[in-house]
């Protein structure tokens, strides 16, 4: 479904991603784990079009997308939940979801999809009219994911959904991610919280200093103490 081929990304002179190759197959949960500053967010931003690779190619369902703008990539079916949630804090919960559906004009189905989001995240349902900035961290993360789902993505990119949240909420969010995947959305999950991510993923990549160091079965990686020590700090 998604394939990154020899991707190099720079911030000015900083070489942030070096020859990244990565694949996500339809229906999978793939996780990309690594320490802070490894290049996880940069990878997702490059896929969603916020950054342009200097070299390499990104294929989505067979077509090259690395020349497209972020706003066109969403239309192809890739939805990115950015690090730090980035909800529109000045708007209501409902307006945030409306923004999520920005690319759509099938208003009848949109109404149904709001209800689907609310059934995934009942806490949001009670807060439809609330200004998003006043939600708790966990609720904001739920809103960010719900907003991303409103574009009806085929592939969902999640950047550290567990960041700054209490363990109980993290558990809840990860079980919802599994749920979303079970309902048919392919997921690429970026995490520093490697344990949780490896637990729900079908495949995993480990990134360090902008280089993919390892690819493999998450269960195997989870049980390998030396790998944990070397890459996941």
């Amino acid at each position: 479904m998604l394939e990154l081929k020899n991707i190099d990304v720079f911030y000015g002179n900083i070489h942030a991603l070096k020859n990244i190759c990565l694949k996500v197959n339809q229906g999978e949960i793939v996780t990309l784990v690594g320490a802070n500053g490894a290049g996880k967010s940069t990878t997702l931003k490059t896929i969603s079009g916020l950054l342009k690779p200097k070299r390499g190619e990104i294929l989505f369902n067979g077509g090259s997308i690395n020349e497209l703008n972020a706003s066109d990539i969403v239309k192809l079916g890739i939805s990115h939940v950015p690090e730090g949630r980035r909800i529109f804090a000045n708007m209501t919960v409902m307006e945030n979801l409306e923004m999520g559906a920005f690319i759509r004009d099938d208003s009848k189905n949109i109404e149904e999809d709001y209800e689907k989001v609310f059934s995934l995240f009942p806490r949001l349902n009670e807060r439809r009219k609330q200004i998003a900035g006043t939600l708790s961290g966990g609720e904001q993360q739920m809103l960010a994911i719900g907003r991303a789902l409103m574009s009806k993505p085929k592939l969902l990119l999640l950047d550290e959904p567990s960041m700054g949240l209490a363990p109980l909420i993290v558990k809840e969010i990860f079980s919802i991610i599994k749920n979303i995947n079970a309902l048919g959305t392919t997921v690429l999950l970026v995490e520093q919280n490697a344990n949780m991510a490896l637990n729900i993923a079908n495949r995993a990549y480990i990134i360090k200093n902008g280089v993919i160091e390892l690819e493999g079965d998450p269960k195997v990686l989870l049980n390998d103490e030396s790998i944990k020590k070397a890459y996941l700090g």
Partner: protein, 294 residues
């Protein structure tokens, strides 16, 4: 007492004009963090378009107002495309200097074509007035028009920003441009739209000033432009309700000062307010604490 009423009428009229212009500063700043110093000159162009239409083509006041708004919104879109868009990733000071250059360019291009002299706006509204309190308070038809049109435009703007898809995209973009892009918002369209709306309001303000003070000239935009900028800062730059509040406050304060023997200082008042705001409450009356863009 009559004095107070009269000053309120005059202050609100003047304030409405500042508010219309301040909205353009604040909307553009909200999206691309640029103080568009050419904004006052777009207002000047609006006044000239209105003048030309009413004087040479005998077009009525309301159609002339609408055509001027359309013309200035187009001008705003073109300026953004040609001058600011290429600089989006440049340091802010570059765009700021460009804005000042565009301001001068508009002033002196206009002067080249129409000459530096002041023109008299035709009397497009019948000169009627209502008198209250034994004729001590005069409510001119012009005041009524200015206040009514200002309010209608503000309500229309509020509707667009709150209820339409493009307006919501604008609000989302002004909060977080990158996140809006991830929703599929075409940032270029939103920026064009913002310039179009802000410039249309400035064009309307130009025509209203033309009928209110009767005179226009190619440099008429610079001082009101700066004052409207102060109004936007006073209200909290980036905040739409702030621009309205700041505009009306500045108009009323300025009128009160000049009516009470301070007419020599009336232009200084705005800048005194600017300094005070920056010292005491840099986020303005309704501005939020500056959000950190990471």
């Amino acid at each position: 007492m009559e004095q107070v009423f009269q000053q309120m009428i005059n202050g609100i009229s003047l304030g409405g004009i500042y508010a219309l212009m301040a909205l353009g500063y604040t909307m553009v700043y909200g999206i691309i963090n640029l103080i568009n110093f050419a904004h006052g000159d777009i207002y000047m162009v609006g006044a000239y378009v209105g003048f030309a239409l009413t004087t040479f083509f005998n077009i009525g006041f309301l159609p002339a107002l609408l055509i001027s708004m359309a013309a200035t919104s187009l001008l705003g879109i073109i300026i953004e495309k040609i001058a600011y868009k290429p600089l989006r990733k440049s340091p802010r000071i570059t765009a700021l200097i460009t804005a000042i250059s565009i301001s001068l360019l508009l002033q002196y291009t206009m002067m080249y074509f129409v000459g530096p002299q002041t023109r008299t706006f035709p009397e497009v509204l019948e000169s009627k007035s209502l008198k209250f309190l034994n004729g001590n308070v005069i409510l001119d038809v012009k005041n009524i028009y200015i206040i009514a049109i200002t309010l209608i435009l503000m309500i229309a703007l509020q509707f667009i920003v709150r209820k339409t898809k493009m307006g919501k995209a604008m609000r989302a973009s002004s909060y977080d441009l990158e996140a809006a892009e991830l929703m599929g918002v075409n940032v270029n369209k939103v920026i064009s739209f913002t310039f179009a709306m802000g410039s249309a309001l400035a064009g309307a303000a130009g025509v209203l000033v033309g009928i209110y003070y009767n005179t226009i000239n190619p440099l008429m935009g610079s001082l009101p432009g700066l004052k409207a900028f102060v109004a936007a800062v006073l209200g909290g730059i980036g905040a739409i309700p702030g621009a309205v509040l700041g505009g009306f406050s500045l108009g009323i304060i300025e009128t009160i000062v000049s009516a009470n023997g301070g007419s020599v200082f009336k232009d200084a008042v705005a800048f005194l307010i600017l300094i005070l705001v920056l010292l005491v409450r840099p986020n303005g009356l309704l501005g939020k604490t500056a959000k950190e863009k990471v």
